[in-house]
Amino acid sequence: ADEDEDTGGRVFAPPSVRRLARELDVELETVSGSGPSGRITEGDVRAAAEGEEETEAES
């Protein structure tokens, strides 16, 4: 599907990764996945969380 189309809230990340995202306060929609076809992995979420922290620390 086209990247920019709104596909009804479907996210492509395993349940455990989705839970981790909530735990770490990461918006899945803002994470770009490194898995097959862009699937979001645990590592992607952790990296996003750390990135967030860094940005916060800088400001």
């Binding site: 599907a1 596909t7 479907r10 395993p14 909530r22 898995g35």
Partner: protein, 475 residues
Amino acid sequence: MVVGDIATGTQVLVIGAGPGGYVAAIRAAQQGLDTTLVEKDAYGGTCLNYGCIPSKAFITSANLAHEAGHAEEMGIHADPVVDMSQLRDWKDGVVDQLTGGVEKLCKANGVNLVEGTARFKDENAVRIAHGGEGQGSETIEFEQCIIATGSRPIQIPGFDFADEQVWSSRDALASDTVPERLVVVGGGYIGMELSTTFAKLGADVTVVEMLDDILPGYEADVARVVKQRAKDLGIDMNFGEAASGWTEEGEGILVTTETEDGEESEYRADKVLVAVGRSPVSDTMEIENAGLEADDRGFLEVNDFRQTSVENIYAVGDVVADTPMLAHVASKEGIVAAEHIAGEPVAFDSQAVPAAVFTDPEIGTVGMTEEEAEEAGFEPVVGQMPFRASGRALTTNHADGFVRIVADDPSGFVLGAQIVGPEASELVAEVAFAIEMGATLEDVASTIHTHPTLAEAVMEAAENALGQAIHTLNR
């Protein structure tokens, strides 16, 4: 015995012990919360007592007897007779075992069990009315409440479940006789499951459906497989007719229907089963006292954590708006509510809800159809595997139906499946899991599937979508 009004307190109060409520209560207790579960009727709710479980028990026996009686092709010569009161007793035994199990599991996890009807006093207390006379009442104060009061069958004008000739699904599943002639009003999943069952048990079954097909909500080619089989079983299906009333006639009854144009038809029967849907039970608890309001159909609206408009009051299961009225949805919602109260990072974030219909053959669906995928902005690619090309299906002599898998192109993400055929209810599990995992067609296609199994058909459907099926031609 408790007389007079005494007040006790609990952290979490759960109202209703169906698959929504008892699961919520057990999970809340597992999270270390002081939990109380109130039930006015029977542990296990509709599902264990009058729904999923008894219907599936009847279906098993009806299937076995019918199959054995129609397997000459496989060399089996038998003339099975079903003793309906024995079947009923066996079914009751299964139900008792499971409801007893629920009670034990609640206790073992430390849930306080209270029998009675809960009614809100305010947003932090309910009054419990006990069943027996002179039992007095009890007030329970709570920090959080989970409403899991479920649903009841819809009655239609002219058909009163109090009359012994008029059956709800619950009455049908409590019966210890097979009516000679049964009219079933409603061709939805409950109506079709019971039509098939009673037809196999020997009843002369007539289905009357207002719409123009059975199993509304399912795609036409899925419903068609079940409809054809129902026809073969001698079930007479009539569409575009609404049941308008019934009268006694001789030993039996006469059921009247009407088309939109006012054309009337009459069907002779011994019982009429009304299975036109279920409505939420939100009127037993005086929710207005807690500041809650149901929508015009009686459902409660909730957020992702199953909180109602009153923050400390949650709702799960059939009483909730917008999610399918299914036992496994109720249980999942119960878990989400309980864990959210406990502060866990949960949400009702399931990507797809599988559903099964235990007709002959079974239906199992999950996620999007091709059409729904298109509407959602995907570019769907579809793969199909007919069971007549499946070695396992042929060796079980059940080769009608197919597995269809829907995915996004070119990402390959699995979006849905429609399965009709043997064990469809089980096969859908793998696809549901694939959807939750964010798996692709290739993931499914390149996983080794045991031979000979029906699950191979899921793999083959994925291969077919990729244009590289082995056991069916690729388009």
